[in-house]
């Protein structure tokens, strides 16, 4: 125990001396939360929209204004003919074009049907999707209203009432903040561990440790113990910042969340240890950690829904600890999920953890002498 604590104490001392790393560990959560919380909003609004109005009536002008009123589209002026419309899209001045046919108002007043065309710039699918759905909703709503007026019925035969639970305003921050806990833990835990061991190897102090009577598990546990503490500090920082700045509360049990986070932190530390056995220098350890971060951010479901990914990517993401932790933390923090609800994810995380610990301790043993 003395030996283990000596290592942990030394590690903390070194961390305290290394102002840059320390600052990075505190700044990283804050910077990330500002970046992801404020800057990223998947709910795209105010898409520049142009109108090719071939009808030029009060009704056609009203339709264009109604589209703008949905909030998804901003009118950026009219075009006179199809050539101008394609020029506007090509140049990027507009991403959406609303085409209102000639005799639009007349056909509607006569009880005929009219077709309005929406041209969208598919090179940016995410933003125009929201314009398409806004326009679709608007037209459907109008069609129902006209139909009711023509038939004299009092209400539509079928209607949808959708209720959004857990995040009624559909704010992106609610989804992002708990996810950030996982992303930040992955980044710092893997990198810190990998570099801390690589540094000892690089400076030759690892050899001095190995000739001492310290046991391998004491060395490993002593080294990563301070990082577990740091991990929890970071997690707390993000949750508090999320609460204060973005009003994202933790609905479920905090003790449960902190308890389950241990498995995730441990998995990342084991991975960092594994990287450290592959790296000869701190620089290599750092590069490996960065290389590992990217698929985590892209595939884990942090930024993009996993449901939309090809099967191969989905399978790949199954082996990332972050994928499962995201489900756990979003479940607990946002939906108030309990232990029983999360059993499946916990089991998977446990399997990954066991595999990583085995792998890294095997590698670490071979690599020391």
């Amino acid at each position: 125990m003395t030996r283990l604590l000596s290592i942990a104490w030394k590690e903390l001392l070194q961390l305290r001396r290394d102002r840059l790393t320390l600052a990075m560990m505190v700044m990283l959560p804050i910077l990330q939360i500002a970046l992801f919380g404020w800057a990223i909003d998947t709910d795209v609004r105010h898409i520049p929209t142009t109108v090719l109005d071939q009808d030029r009536t009060a009704a056609s002008r009203e339709l264009a204004r109604a589209l703008e009123a949905t909030g998804s589209c901003d009118l950026v002026g009219n075009v006179r003919d199809p050539a101008e419309l394609s020029a506007a899209l090509r140049s990027g001045r507009a991403k959406v074009g609303l085409v209102i046919p000639p005799r639009y108002a007349e056909r509607l007043s006569l009880g005929h049907s009219a077709t309005v065309q929406l041209v969208v710039d598919g090179s940016d699918p995410q933003s125009v999707a929201s314009a398409t759905s806004a326009a679709g909703g608007l037209i459907a709503q109008r069609a129902v209203a006209m139909m009711l007026a023509r038939t004299g019925a009092r209400e539509a035969p079928i209607s949808l009432e959708s209720t959004t639970w857990y995040n009624p305003d559909l704010r992106t921050a609610v989804n992002v903040v708990p996810g950030l806990v996982g992303v930040i833990l992955t980044m710092t835990m893997v990198m810190l561990t990998a570099m801390a061991v690589a540094r000892e190897r690089e400076r030759g102090t690892l050899e001095q440790l190995v000739v001492s009577p310290i046991r391998r598990w004491e060395l490993v546990v002593g080294k990563i113990l301070p990082f577990v503490v740091i991990g929890y500090v970071q997690m707390t920082l993000v949750l508090i910042a999320g609460r204060v700045i973005f009003d994202v509360p933790v609905v479920g049990s905090l003790p449960l969340l902190y308890a389950l986070a241990f498995g995730f932190i441990a998995a990342n530390l084991a991975l960092g240890l594994f990287f450290s056995t592959l790296a000869k220098t701190q620089q290599q350890a750092m590069q490996m950690s960065f290389f590992f971060i990217l698929p985590n951010i892209l595939l884990s479901g942090f930024m993009f829904p996993r449901e939309g990914m090809p099967k191969l990517a989905q399978w790949l993401s199954e082996i990332l600890p972050l994928t499962h932790f995201l489900k756990i933390i979003r479940g607990i923090a946002l939906r108030g999920a309990g232990f029983d609800d999360l059993r499946g994810e916990l089991l998977r995380l446990a399997v990954i953890l066991a595999a990583l610990v085995t792998l890294s301790s095997l590698r670490f043993r071979k690599n020391l002498a």
């Binding site: 000596s6 104490w9 030394k10 001392l13 070194q14 001396r17 030759g204 001492s212 009577p213």
Partner: protein, 311 residues
């Protein structure tokens, strides 16, 4: 007392795949001895030390250190030895005191005992003024002192020093060797590897290691005596003299040292006479060659040459 063996090995060998790092090393080191392991880089010195420390398992042979078997009880050995590497292994971002406290804890000292022992070591090694200084800002000589203090914290009966004076200035080296002798006088056994000949001459006994095998073991005087070499030096810059001496089978070695030639022969020949003859043949009449004492380097070079011829 003199017969108490701290280290004893027989036919120790270690291979790494195809590479034979240590072929056959048999050593016995007595308590309180300063035992040198001398050899060129790559001779197998470090591998031998690492086996003795319990870091590497031998591929062949057997050995015991401080009474424990190196193959089966490496963990017991680790508590009984101190170890100082050529890179001093200090944490540069910790102070001298923190380094000492850390290593004390690593060897299981705790609480008041740990603090007392560290304070004692600081006082004893003249580190009081530097105890709060970051280890990274120390000069090479001071780093070396602190590293030795770290290795001696738990008062081991045996300490290994792996090229402890690499990159240290001559004055610090001299002070360091004084410290080594002091440690040995107090009963600690010191095993030191080096490739500096002047350092080797300061050891009580030496093992010459070359290509993974021990070529000779003994006191520096014994080793030199066994080689039976005679050496003469002369002021001479003539290439012809050097070449003719090198061609002479009776001459072991001719080496230029500045403006002098150093000529080595076996005991049965007279190097001064051979030099005189060679100079006369070249039509030169310089200073008279002077016979000088053979040193360890002469012995070492001659042994390595013999080994190469025999192989």
């Amino acid at each position: 007392m003199a017969a108490e063996l701290v280290v004893e090995t027989q036919g120790l060998g270690r291979t790494f795949g195809q590479l034979v790092a240590v072929r056959d090393v048999s050593l016995s080191v007595r308590r309180g001895e300063i035992f040198g392991i001398l050899g060129p880089n790559g001779a197998g010195k470090s591998t031998t030390i690492r086996m003795l420390c319990g870091l590497l398992t031998p591929s062949s042979g057997r050995g015991s250190v401080a009474g424990f078997d190196i193959a089966t009880e490496p963990e017991r050995i680790k508590t009984r030895i101190g170890y100082m590497t050529q890179r001093f292994s200090l944490y540069e971002d910790l102070t001298v005191r923190e380094n000492l406290l850390f290593y004390a804890g690593l060897y299981g000292l705790s609480g008041a005992r740990r603090r007392a022992r560290v304070a004692e070591v600081i006082a004893r090694n003249g580190l009081v003024d530097r105890s709060e200084q970051l280890a990274g800002t120390l000069s090479g000589g001071w780093k070396q002192r602190v590293a030795l203090a770290c290795a001696m914290l738990h008062e081991p009966p045996l300490v290994f020093l792996d090229e402890p004076t690499a990159g240290v200035d001559p004055v610090s080296r001299r002070a360091f060797w004084e410290e080594i002798h002091r440690i040995a006088t107090e009963g600690t056994t010191v095993i030191v590897t080096t490739h500096y000949m002047d350092e080797a001459e300061r050891c009580h006994r030496l093992a010459f290691v070359f290509r993974g095998s021990v070529l000779d073991v003994g006191t520096p005087a014994e080793i030199m005596e066994r080689r039976g070499l005679r050496v003469a030096e002369v002021e001479c810059r003539e290439r012809a003299v050097l070449d003719s001496l090198r061609a002479d089978a009776r001459v072991e070695e001719v080496a230029p040292f500045g403006s002098r030639l150093r000529v080595t022969t076996r005991r049965e020949h007279d190097p001064a006479a051979l030099v005189r003859a060679a100079m006369a043949a070249a039509g030169l009449r310089g200073d008279d060659p002077l016979e000088v004492r053979a040193n360890l380097e002469d012995a070492f070079v001659s042994m390595v040459r013999d080994d190469a011829r025999g192989a």
